[in-house]
């Protein structure tokens, strides 16, 4: 980041026509991301966007910076290679619920586990949009789609729970329509050193409209949005009358008046133990009821690339720089002369 450069959203817009269905939540997320990059003064030449396959994966065409539209589910692998080879770059993965959690489930958990410095934005719309309406690993049970005409019998993933279980050092959730909140989360993810996982509830108005109405509807959102704030008691609803307590590893919703404000869980995303973050994540099934958004977890651990650099440094300090010719020749070679 340089102090002298002033960016606008236009600097982050590419010359490509944005091609999503009219009304898609992806437009809002794109605008949020472009605004964040400009407002925060991120230099374009230091940023890479990597995607897989799906509606969300068109993202790299629209961000005016380095980008790769790769193959289905493999973006975390490609991004891992990038981030380890060039630790100075800010590497972002844009993915969806099918791309990241179905075909890419393996890569996503291992990139998290290794604390590779990538920012994963998972656009969760609980449906396959690009292939026109099959169920996804986040589709709710019973849902009837084109590939589940008798209803889904899979149990869905809870992406935030999965990321916490996969050792991600930064885990957050936001909502496409809430641009200020999205930008706040993007800023925190950008500043985090290590694997950052951001689930973004994204409305697919064509194949799964109003999936997140409990959190976006005018009447519903005030009742159901639990906004997690660092060092503050987890309260929500009109007049903050509702709250969350955590007992025996389980988060429960209570009326604050019933238990007293001191009994309400005070949110701290920075504790190394992931128990409370996981308990909070379990409140978000659906989401058809009260659901937390915000930063669940943000802890400091050394990144894969920094540990790797340290190993290389230590190895060279202990044994000197490598000499390939010497290695090949070894000690047991000799010259044959006539």
């Amino acid at each position: 980041m340089t102090d002298t450069t002033q960016y606008t959203r236009q600097d982050w817009q590419s010359d490509q026509e944005v091609r999503w269905c009219p009304g898609c939540g992806d437009y809002t997320i794109l605008a949020s991301l472009q605004n964040f990059m400009a407002d925060f003064g991120v230099d374009r030449e230091n940023v890479v966007f990597v995607s897989g396959i799906g509606c969300a994966s068109r993202f790299p065409y629209y961000m005016n910076t380095y980008g790769m539209h790769g193959i289905h589910g493999r973006a975390p692998a490609i991004a891992s290679g990038l981030a380890v080879a060039r630790p100075d770059l800010s590497v972002w993965v844009v993915t969806g619920d099918g791309d990241a959690l179905s075909i890419g489930g393996n890569h996503i958990i291992h990139s998290m586990r290794r604390n590779i410095n990538i920012k994963v934005l998972l656009f969760n719309n609980q449906i396959y949009g690009l292939t026109k309406g099959q169920y996804s690993p986040t589709s709710e049970r019973g849902k009837k789609t084109k590939s589940s005409p008798w209803g889904v019998i899979d149990y869905p993933f809870n992406p935030v729970s999965l990321a916490i279980g996969a050792e991600a050092t930064f885990v957050a959730r936001t909502i496409d329509m809430d641009r200020p909140h999205t930008q706040e989360i993007l800023t925190a993810a950008y500043q985090h050193q290590g694997s950052a996982f951001v689930e973004i509830y994204q409305n697919c108005n064509v194949f799964n409209d109003k999936a997140f109405i409990a959190l976006t509807g005018k009447e519903e959102r005030d009742v159901n949005r639990i906004v997690l704030e660092q060092d503050k008691p987890v309260v929500f609803g009109p007049d903050d009358a509702m709250g969350v307590v955590i007992e025996h590893g389980e988060a429960r919703i209570v009326e604050v008046a019933d238990v007293g404000i001191d009994a309400i869980h005070v949110h701290d995303a920075t504790v190394e133990n992931a128990g409370a973050a996981f308990a909070l994540s379990r409140l978000s099934h659906g989401p058809t009821g009260p659901t937390p958004i915000g930063i669940f977890r943000s802890v400091d651990r050394s990144t894969y690339a920094s540990d790797l650099q340290q190993q290389i440094h230590d190895a060279q300090a202990a044994r000197g720089p490598g000499d390939l010719a010497l290695l090949i020749a070894g000690a047991g070679t000799w010259e044959v002369s006539d």
Binding site: H69, H72, K146, S147, W150
Partner: protein
């Protein structure tokens, strides 16, 4: 009676009529239609259809289900075949009957998801390591989509191996008017289920032992490693040699049971047009048009891509000095024809921009 139907639906119907009881697939354009139809139709006949978490899982589920007694099919497109690769090898090595539909789209990689192509014809042939024979059938019409799929189930049982049905985006997704009487009945053999005795047979090399299923009769083992006739891992040189020769010869020595082509030959015609798949339709139309213009020409539509119907092609080439091979790639199958053509002139008509080959392009090439 006539109906309005696409190739995907015909494939699904062919599979169901052949006794398919298990399907697993993953959404991918232009093969999702088969997945969605199977998810809808298979439960109605007591079968199982699953949307896997990816293509690797989907074909893996099919192999597991086959070993448990199912007749299984999966369907995908080029990028999915890439992911099927290791499990295709497992099915070849473990001699697991299985039908794999490849709805071709323009590649490589994501390529053109909604764009027609015939770029996978060598890919299905050599799509897994080791270099062993594979069977691949290629329908050129909706009717053929039906009966060649049924035929694929039959051959999978006969030879205990994966069998491809190679179609494409246009054939699979375009609605066509079809005469109901045009669907032939294909006799699909019942599975011969082994009970006791070794689950594999390598002598004579071309013979195939009955499939032993899990949970039925004697306990058996399957493995992706080289194995003896009992299914146990081995590096015993004569056994490994016998296994590998068997995997090849069980198909190569019985090509006459597999080779399929639709030949429309004209005595004394100097030119022969050879096509397959969606291009086969253009070949038939071009031959008719050329003859209407007084040009003597023969046509041949290959239905078994692998093994290539060599006997029929040799016969069709008698007296021919020029062979035209139209295909939606840059000559991937032409090289097979050249091998058989023994010095005759072989010309390609090729298109890789995502559009179909025009009848006129072929007529021009035979003129």
């Amino acid at each position: 009676m006539r109906e309005y139907i696409d190739g995907s639906t015909a494939i699904v119907r062919g599979a169901l009529d052949a006794g398919c009881t298990f399907f697993a697939g993953y959404p991918i354009t232009p093969a999702s239609g088969i997945l969605m139809a199977m998810m809808r139709e298979l439960p109605k006949v007591g079968g199982v259809a699953i949307q896997g978490e990816d293509e690797i899982a989907s074909i893996g589920m099919c192999i597991g289900a086959t070993l448990a007694g199912s007749r299984a099919m999966t369907a995908t497109s080029g990028p999915g075949i890439s992911l099927y690769s290791e499990n295709i090898g497992l099915a070849v090595m473990g001699e697991v009957p299985l039908v794999i539909v490849d709805v071709q789209r323009l590649g490589p990689s994501t390529g053109g998801a909604t764009t027609v192509s015939q770029g996978d014809v060598q890919f299905v042939r050599w799509g897994t390591g080791g270099g062993f024979p594979i069977i691949a059938l290629a329908p050129s019409t909706v009717t053929e989509s039906y009966w060649l799929t049924a035929k694929a189930f039959d051959l999978a049982e006969r030879f205990r191996c994966p069998v491809f049905v190679v179609t494409d985006k246009e054939l699979a997704t375009t609605l066509t008017t079809v005469d109901l009487e045009s669907y032939p009945t294909i006799q699909v053999r019942d599975r011969e289920v082994g009970s006791g005795g070794p689950p594999y047979r390598y002598a004579p090399a071309d013979e195939v032992a009955p499939l032993h299923e899990f949970g039925r009769g004697a306990t058996v083992r399957f493995t992706g490693s080289t194995h003896d006739t009992g299914g146990y891992i081995t590096k015993h040189l004569p056994t490994v040699d016998a296994l590998n020769r068997h995997l090849s010869e069980k198909i190569e020595d019985h090509r006459d049971e597999i080779e399929l082509a639709d030949a429309d030959l004209e005595d004394g015609a100097p030119t022969l047009v050879i096509g397959y798949g969606v291009t086969g339709g253009a070949v038939r139309a071009a031959v008719a048009e050329a003859r209407r213009r007084g040009i003597r020409v023969s046509g041949l539509v290959v239905q078994s891509l692998w093994p290539i119907p060599e006997t029929v092609i040799r016969r069709a080439m008698e007296g021919v000095d020029r062979v035209v091979v139209p295909e939606l790639n840059l000559g991937l199958y032409r090289r097979e024809v050249e091998r058989i053509a023994a010095g005759r002139s072989v010309v390609g008509v090729n298109r890789v921009d995502g559009e179909l080959i025009d009848v006129d392009q072929i007529v021009e090439a035979v003129t």
